[in-house]
Symmetry: C3
Subunit: 138 residues, 3 copies
Amino acid sequence: MIIQQSFKIQTPGRGMIEVTKEVAEIVKQSEISIGICNVFLHHTSASIVICENDDITVQHDLERFFGHLISDGHMLFEHVAEGPDDMSAHVRSIMTQSSLSIPITQKKLDLGRWQGIYLWEHRLKAHDRKITVTLQGE
Amino acid sequence: MIIQQSFKIQTPGRGMIEVTKEVAEIVKQSEISIGICNVFLHHTSASIVICENDDITVQHDLERFFGHLISDGHMLFEHVAEGPDDMSAHVRSIMTQSSLSIPITQKKLDLGRWQGIYLWEHRLKAHDRKITVTLQGE
Amino acid sequence: MIIQQSFKIQTPGRGMIEVTKEVAEIVKQSEISIGICNVFLHHTSASIVICENDDITVQHDLERFFGHLISDGHMLFEHVAEGPDDMSAHVRSIMTQSSLSIPITQKKLDLGRWQGIYLWEHRLKAHDRKITVTLQGE
């Protein structure tokens, strides 16, 4: 059995937005007992990541650390047409993920106790982002 | 056909542990000829990665380089409740992988000659880690 | 339905080579309407990544930034038997991807408007690289 569903998220700008509930709900509705859930992001200046879901300071620390490691407007960047956060967003995207494959077990998205799925917006301004969830199983 | 199996690994602390044999054995037992093998790690302070499998100095260099790039107790980190290696572990996790999808070809896990699957423990102390292997194919 | 096909790319040395057309053609030929396309690279010193596909300076900036972040012949590297670009290639590989799972929707590889699939060669010299594409769907 294959189920595919897309949804959009409007981000307010740089930062993480949890989408675990949206994905888990698609899994629940599908009634698939066992299989794989793929979560795909159709963009190269944002990421889809699994992050610790309990302490918000983890997200803040990730944001600060990536901002430090891949500084906006880095002197090595030529691709600056859309602003100093354009190229750093592409680097952040390629260093993290735009596709996640997660097991479905006993009709549930089988994440660990401290794992959540997050859309990570890397651009400073608000953006519309599209995510496609594809379930395969039985 | 879908096969799913979980197993636990007790890590002795920071470093890599090869799990290629464990995963390849599940593929072999399944008798699936062609398909995809997904290896999923249920944690956010360890990774599941494909690493060079021949020269142990590659693992040592990766450990040293990541330790240098993402120093434990970095001055930007607020999330330090569990110690200086807590937040660096989350950064290492998000910069690598917690899910791998590998082809199954002619009843075998179709890794390259120099590729191995490794659980990479990022915390300094010993931890119990859970891995779920999901096979889809025919 | 499962379709699997491998192909080889000869790289001229460090840099990105787009393989979107090759992968999209396999999807088209398969006549799968809905499912997942996995693209797997059988090497640990190159990557398979989703990168911005419109402005070539993005690739140049990624190359320069990774060269700066993970310098060839870094003083921390012991694994230098094959030259100063050997260990940096393994670090680049583990910080990016060697496996991508992309949705198939309405008989097409469902990439975003600005997403392309690229083989990223990290070694300085020319190499033969093997990619396996596995499609699952109906």
